[in-house]
Symmetry: C2
Subunit: 231 residues, 2 copies
């Protein structure tokens, strides 16, 4: 008769499947915060959901996120260059998936709109769902994300806003290395869902920005100075 598994035996116990889910957040040209959703195949076919995937053998979570976005959404590695998924929360309800015991590690990933728009435009199974009050407005008649993914969106929006209160464009949503204060301010106003007075914004941000000593001209008016993030 086999001995009972000892607690330190690593294979002694059933293991969960581990999945990653990712809220890919962007800002549309109209100034709307939005999250990438994918129309599912297989389980819950037809429903819009956040991209995700099961973790493969000895795979890092961040790598799983990148591969999920590549395989499911067609986003090449170049689209993710310089962007780091951030862990939000582990969802561990053993009943959360009909197919078996799954733990899902939810992530936040900020991407500039330019890296997403072509893919979203050319595929009917991708969409950008606007964020309203920490919830997504999904295309069609679907009200809620499956698998309790609404909670992931809330975690993601909260974390995004916390970070945007602390430093200029931490998720690199602007997409460009150099930007004007007005561009940065519009972005922060979008993410935080509240306006900034330009003097206050300038005072708060300048210590964390580096002047490029260049300007953006081409329109009437004084050219705007361009900045980079200091780190």
């Amino acid at each position: 008769m086999a001995r009972s598994p000892r607690p330190s035996d690593i294979g002694a116990f059933p293991r969960p499947s581990v999945a990653v889910d990712v809220a890919v957040v962007t800002v549309q040209p109209d100034g709307q915060l939005a999250v990438l959703v994918l129309r599912r195949t297989g389980d819950r076919a037809g429903q819009w959901a956040l991209p995700g995937r099961f973790v493969r053998d000895r795979e890092r979570l961040a790598d799983s996120v990148a591969i999920a976005l590549a395989e499911k959404c067609g986003l090449p590695a170049a689209a993710l260059a310089g962007a780091t998924p951030r862990q939000l929360h582990v969802f561990d309800d053993p009943a959360r998936d009909d197919r078996g015991w799954v733990m899902s590690v939810a992530h936040l990933l900020g991407l500039p709109y330019e890296r997403l728009s072509a893919h979203v435009a050319e595929r009917a199974d991708l969409a950008l769902a606007p964020v309203r009050e920490r919830r997504l407005q999904l295309p069609g008649r679907q009200r809620n994300l499956p698998y309790g993914q609404g909670a992931i969106v809330e975690y993601a929006v909260d974390e995004l806003r916390r970070r945007y209160l602390e430093e200029p464009d931490p998720e690199g949503l602007l997409g460009a290395d150099e930007f004007s204060l007005a561009e940065l301010r519009d972005l922060h106003a979008t993410v935080l869902d509240e306006p900034w007075q330009i003097d206050t914004f300038r005072r708060n941000m300048l210590p964390a920005l580096t002047s490029t000593d260049t300007v953006r001209s081409g329109t009437p008016g004084r050219p705007a100075a361009l900045y980079r993030r200091s780190r």
Copy 2:
């Protein structure tokens, strides 16, 4: 020949062992922030480490934390009453454990000293390691925690401090439902590692406290008013 695993087949891929680790944080009577460490048996026998355990079949992470503290440290359910472990980060380096592929979900749990002291006193394999600059001063000659657990301590201290900047005693470290402003202030000064001016502290905290309309007397001087947290 068996077909290749389809991506949605839940059992199709190897799965990691999932472990929980927990930084149990408390404040000693001398006003020192400290974290519970346990002398290991089995793998890395003799070394001090944070408590933790592999997750059992269909077990919730928070339950695993509680069971780990009960089984490894002798902390009964009563010791954890009202305390909720908070997820900090998933450590997913496939090489982090010699025994195989392990993902560890690190947690923070605040406990009042009174719930720990008897257990620590009666067991030679438990200790409270003081926190200095987001690192632990381990007993004996051991400099570092194994398995990269030093990073867990840093996450835990950062999260603790962030929370103590936002509300009065969110982790319930005082242990009592009712407390004086001086007690609360001393606690916050310990956690945040910096003092508070009493007027400023009072102004900041009172909106989040409820007066009990009782006082603590028994020593010379004006009796201190007692408060509860408003939520």
